[in-house]
Amino acid sequence: MRTLKFLLKKEFSQILRNKTIRVAIFVMPIVQLIVIPFTADYEVKNINLAVADHDHSVYSRQLISKITASGYFRLTDYTNSFKSALKSIESDKADLILEIPSGFEKGLIKENEQKLFVAVNAINGVKAGLGGAYLGEIIKNYNNDIRLKWVTPESFSPFPVIDIRSSNWFNPEMNYYFFMVPGILAILVTMVGGFMSSLNIVKEKEVGTIEQINVTPIKKHYFIIGKLIPFWILGNIIFSIGLIVAWVVFGIVPVGSLWVLYASISMYLFAILGFGLLISTYCDTQQQAMLIMFFFMMIFILMGGLYTPTESMPGWAKIISQLNPATYLIEMMRMIILKGSGFSDITPSLIKLGIFAILFNSWAVFNYKKTS
């Protein structure tokens, strides 16, 4: 135990003395947590719309003003030929074309039926998909308005109508910050913890101090624990700073208990730091460790359910995401912060992270060799 005390003292002096690390630990997460959530928003706004209006009637103008009033669309081109509207798409000035045929008003009133044409630039899939859907929704509403105005409502509709009303639980306003901030905080803890731990032992190898450690009677597991604990404490501090930022900047207050929240982050840190240390025991230079860690970081982030739900991934990817510790943290963070889940809800995830932690750390102890 006394050995551990000396190891911890040494690690803390080294970490806190390093100015770059200090900045990396305390400033970068705050900046990222403030900046990224504003940009990582699924809501698509400012979709550029070109209208090819062959009708020029009151009704067509009403429709256009209804679309622009929604706030999602920006009318960038208003012409009377589809060709020139297509040019706007080609020159990237428009994302969508709405073509209103001539006789739109007449057909709508007299024949009770009319067709519109929507062309979508699908280079940016998200923008195209959502833009098309928004536009369809607005046109549907417009259509309903017209029907109410012109068609006498029948007391009994000839067709049964199912009207779907949904209500958003746990995030009633569908606020994207509520959804993204806990996830981004999880990623920040992953990045800082993973990189710091993966670079640490390998740095001692590079400068040669590991030799001096290896000739001492220090126990291997003490050495690894001595590396693990300082980063574990730092990880918790970063997480706490992140929670404060989430509260001050985004007004997010965890619904669940802080105990549950810290239990999950603590367990997660043991797992991810163990992973970093394991990488560190395999590498000889910091460059190698950095490259390998980067590879895994991409997987952790993109396959952890932060941006895309893991449930919609193909089967093999689902298996990988099950082996990704970050998946569990992102899930638990959202459950606890937004839904107020308690210990019983997160126990399965906690157990899995515990298994990861034991596995990675003992593997690291095993692979760290004092004698080559």
């Binding site: 040494k10 080294q14 290896n214 009677p217």
Partner: protein, 246 residues
């Protein structure tokens, strides 16, 4: 000498096809200063790393302070000090922090740590620099500090791998005074060097050529044996037969 602190018998290390040290055998007594000479690449560092428990031998036997180098590496580590070719104290810790750290992991208690570090700083005349980072002190001081830290826990043997490389003559002289001091108190010193004047300071020396020990005796006997006036010439006669070129 009745009591051998280091005993090596046909100690061999192979890296693939390459035999770095080839069946070397020798004994070193208590309090002896044993010089380990050889050209670059002759296998000195490999031999030393095996004796320190940093590297597993391919074959052969050896004991350090009575402990077997295969099975009892951890006991050996309690009883040796080691100073590598590359300076390996923590540059980003202060002098005092380095002393406390290494003293601490060798199991010195607080009382011992306090008195030993005070003594050490006094001996090295580093009292004013105690709170300075090691990265900021000159090489000569660093080497003396590294040596003092290596013998802080009073080991049975201290292994020094080219401890005075790049150090000025005055500091080298002081360094050897420190070596004599610990040897006088019964510590065995195992030292590799390229300086022939330093070889003269040793009680006995061995000269390695191409992974084998080609000569082992006191400096004066060696000069006698090869019938030359200086150690320089002894070394030259042996080393020029070397086939390994770095």
């Amino acid at each position: 000498m009745a009591e051998y602190v280091i005993k090596a018998e046909k100690l061999t290390k192979k890296f693939g096809d390459f035999t770095a040290t080839n069946a070397i055998s020798f004994e070193v007594g208590k309090g002896e200063i044993f010089g380990f000479l050889g050209a670059n690449g002759a296998g000195k560092t490999t031999a030393m790393r095996m004796l320190c428990g940093l590297s597993k031998p391919t074959s052969g036997k050896a004991t350090i302070a009575g402990f077997d180098i295969y099975k009892q590496t951890e006991q050996i580590k309690k009883n040796i000090g080691y100073m590598s070719q590359k300076f390996s104290l923590y540059e980003d810790l202060t002098i005092l922090e380095n002393i406390h750290f290494f003293g601490g992991i060798y199991g010195l208690n607080n009382q011992q740590l306090k008195s030993k570090s005070k003594q050490l700083l006094h001996d090295l005349d580093l009292e004013k620099e105690a709170k300075k980072l090691v990265s900021g002190i000159p090489l000569g001081w660093k080497q003396k500090l590294a040596f003092s830290v290596a013998v802080l826990h009073n080991p049975a043997v201290v292994f020094l791998d080219e401890p005075t490389g790049g150090v000025d003559p005055v500091t080298r002289r002081q360094f050897w005074d420190m070596i004599y001091e610990v040897a006088h108190h019964g510590m065995t010193v195992f030292v590799t060097t390229h300086y022939m004047d330093e070889a003269e300071y040793c009680n006995r020396i061995s000269i390695m050529v191409d992974g084998k020990i080609e000569a082992l005796n006191t400096p004066s006997n060696l000069k006698h044996q090869f019938n030359v006036p200086s150690m320089d010439q002894v070394f030259y006669q042996l080393a020029r037969g070397a086939k390994r070129i770095e």
